[in-house]
């Protein structure tokens, strides 16, 4: 799965679970631009896990500053978990 496909998945999750309207761009910051507080940030992480069937490292949550960071984290997990 390439980054564009992962971004589409993350966008679908944000629309469904965070009521995010409009496009989601890689450079968008999760806290400042998407205005996610800690509960909504966790909602995004958990629903991205459910969507892609991956387990992100909880310790890494704090390091997710932008949409691109989240896409990269999913890409790494998918690469590690693929046969």
């Amino acid at each position: 799965m390439n980054d564009r496909e992962i971004l589409a998945g993350v966008s679908a999750v944000a629309a469904k679970h965070l009521d995010w309207q409009g496009p989601l761009l890689p450079e968008m910051r999760l806290v400042e631009d998407l205005r996610l507080d800690s509960i909504r940030l966790l909602t995004l992480a958990v629903e991205v896990e459910n969507y892609f069937r991956v387990c992100l490292d909880e310790a890494d949550d704090a390091g997710l500053a932008t949409v691109a960071d989240l896409v990269a984290a999913v890409r790494r997990k998918l690469a590690r978990e693929s046969p």
Partner: protein, 349 residues
């Protein structure tokens, strides 16, 4: 005006956090890919166990809001009666002394309300002034004491009873997999507490109520509350509660105390609602409380969880019974809840 006694009552079913987590993992395991998240959320709330209104296996049958609320009405009367009887017994007061009955809850609905049903069950005076209050949420324990104090100020020869019953487990939305609901499933517990507030002309030995204050924070409706779905109460919980504490509580407490020529350093006892670890940490920081000032609150959170409006009354009961401050010590009873708002009660022990 004095707090004459505080009674407590819990449902018979008590489960440690691991048992509750196992049951929820079974329920939600199919839907959530990373179950470690649920375990982390449950550990982070620092709750060791909780009382439940029903045996854990009986929750499966509550497949509609009506069935859950029927269970709420039944158990609310049982624990409500036990809490009021406990308070009357501790105060050595006859029910004939009661002039008003305030009932607070946010976890179920009933008409006639629970205090009306208890008048029948307990053969309480038929001239009791009834005041059922729904919707104040976690603040209702402290606010209930304040409203009871308002009543006995007007009728100094009477006693007002405040009953809080919260059966949070009966509000759990099994189909709601949102993070606020997952947090709530690890945090909230069930129980009841009753407070007798005596007017100045009624002999009583508990802490004297010196002053109360309500503070409302405009435009904060989505910080906490309920949405109502077809399945019942659906929790609204934002990460904003600790922020409200940090932004407002110190200023509000200081202003309240300054009006009586006091400051925070004059307060020797804090009875606080155990909202959750982040809220308590924010409170300790904002009010610059000395180490150990909230120990009883933290312990209550650990032992029985957050019981919404009942919780601050449990902390008050424990303080009164086992950690009573020296006579003359000034104390604060504090809680916050949906609105968003705070209630402050200044007492002299």
């Amino acid at each position: 005006m004095r707090i004459a006694a505080v009674g407590r009552a819990f449902p018979a079913h008590y489960y440690d956090q691991e048992t509750l987590l196992s049951a929820l993992l079974e329920l939600w395991g199919q839907r959530h890919h990373n179950l470690g998240r649920l375990e982390s959320l449950h550990k982070n709330v620092l709750v060791g166990g909780r009382h439940l209104a029903l045996a854990i296996e009986d929750y499966r049958q509550l497949d509609t809001w009506g069935r859950a609320n029927d269970a709420w009405i039944r158990v609310a009367q049982e624990v409500g009666e036990a809490a009021v009887a406990d308070a009357l017994d501790r105060a050595g007061l006859s029910a004939e002394k009661l002039g008003a009955f305030l009932f607070v809850t946010v976890t179920g609905v009933a008409t006639p309300s629970i205090e009306a049903r208890l008048i029948n069950r307990m053969r309480l005076p038929v001239n009791l002034k009834r005041l059922p209050i729904f919707g104040l949420g976690c603040v209702a324990g402290a606010a209930g004491i304040a409203r009871a104090a308002d009543y006995v100020k007007a009728y100094p020869d009477q006693v007002a009873v405040l009953l809080s019953v919260e059966l949070c487990s009966l509000t759990l939305q099994r189909g709601d997999l949102s993070i606020p609901n997952l947090i709530a499933s690890g945090l909230f517990g069930d129980g009841a507490a009753a407070v007798l507030v005596a007017g100045d002309e009624v002999p009583a030995t508990g802490p004297k109520i010196l002053a109360t204050r309500s503070i409302f924070y405009p435009e904060s409706e989505r910080v906490m509350g309920w949405d109502i779905s077809e399945q019942g109460f659906k929790i609204v919980l934002s990460a904003g509660v600790p922020e409200v504490v940090r932004e407002h509580l110190r200023e509000d407490v200081d202003a309240f105390l300054a009006d009586r020529g006091l400051s925070r350093s004059d307060i020797g006892s804090w009875v606080a609602h155990p909202g959750g670890p982040k809220v308590l940490e924010a409170m300790q920081e904002a009010l610059e409380l000395p180490a150990g000032a909230l120990d009883i609150t933290w312990r209550s959170l650990r032992e029985v969880g957050n019981l919404s409006s009942t919780s601050v009354l449990l902390v008050l009961a424990e303080t009164l019974e086992n950690h009573r401050p020296a006579p003359g010590t000034l104390g604060m009873i504090t809680a916050m809840g949906p609105g968003f708002c705070s209630e402050l009660v200044l007492v002299e022990w």
